[in-house]
Symmetry: C2
Subunit: 208 residues, 2 copies
């Protein structure tokens, strides 16, 4: 990545960093919750497991990798208050709402967080967020040819900026430790696999 | 994968499947918990975020990819009661205990879950489990030349069997949907990158 671009990125990140952290005195309305169950297994053993609940739902989410016409990918910068840097770089993502399809959630989150939309979503993969204690099933989409159609629409508790990077720059940001969320890392690995596969197919066609 | 091996695997999986699920009547002692905080950011905005707590700790974990002398990798089969299959295939993994180092946790979990140990742990990557609501930082290790030195040591609420697979078989199990946990998928992607890199270096050395 050019030194100037990395310097500019660092100046954006500074706005997102945590300056002060205090226990919330008014936490009676909470988003996280859990339920406990007993399970009878195929071998007749009984085990107890707790399930993480997010906003009364199972926490399933979508992750969208927005590709622009210049072949760069749109990333979002967000406060990640529990991490060491207290700020993270990732792809647009969010929880699926009640009675919402994965694709609708992907389009909604993409537009809310960046103002962009896409005419083509390609599903790259799906995975469980935290198999041991959650039913959350996340879907990774690649969104082709994204176009800016509106402003961001953020909740009052959200603060997000977006920046675009080449695949090479994304991999560099990962090795520098700026991209450190498991979901973003997995999405990036699946994007890399998808592009390598595409290039392999194009090469094979040319050889024929 | 040979049809016979896949058939045998399916018969093992059957033992792990959930037959019946009931709400736990006695869930006063719980593992999952949360804390709520307010954060002042670099741009002077104040946001509220909840942190997931696991057993009074932040939930940081290790994932170990045990490589055997025949170049196969050891996997564990476990009940994954909240997933669609209700059983999962992954690598040995577990939470880091209080005052325990990542490496000690890796060796402990590897031996508890499989009875194997290793003389060489290679750190492949680290990542945040769930950046938005957790401080859990997970480390992925490759454990070389693993040797069986004891029986499993499982907690009374654990039920685990282990099976070994080639890298190709692991990728096949992923595409068949048997490997579907985000952590296992990311570990597998990092293993694939590590091996591809190694092979590239060996090839380049030969060309010189």
């Amino acid at each position: 990545m050019e030194a100037q671009k990395l310097k500019h990125l660092k100046s954006i990140l500074a706005n997102f960093k945590t300056i002060k952290k205090i226990t919330n005195p008014n936490s009676s309305k909470h988003f996280l919750n859990f339920k406990s169950y007993n399970f009878l297994l195929g071998n007749n053993k009984i085990i107890t497991r707790e399930q993480l609940i997010k906003g009364k739902l199972d926490g399933s989410a979508i992750i969208v990798i927005p590709m622009l016409s210049n072949n760069e990918f749109l990333c979002v910068i967000e406060p990640r208050v529990f991490t060491k840097l207290t700020v993270g770089i990732g792809f647009p993502a969010g929880y699926i709402e009640k009675n919402e399809s994965e694709e609708t959630a992907a389009l909604r989150e993409l537009q809310e967080e960046t103002g962009y939309t896409t005419s083509k979503l390609i599903k790259l993969d799906e995975f469980y967020q935290d198999e041991g204690c959650s039913a959350a099933l996340n879907t990774i989409y690649l969104a082709l040819n994204c176009q800016k159609i509106s402003e961001q629409h953020l909740d009052k508790d959200e603060y997000i900026e977006y920046v675009s990077f080449t695949l090479q720059e994304l991999l560099e940001l990962e090795s520098l430790g700026y991209i450190k969320g498991g979901n973003t890392k997995l999405a990036l690995a699946k994007l890399k696999e998808y592009i390598a596969n595409k290039e392999k197919i194009i090469k094979e066609r040319k050889l024929k």
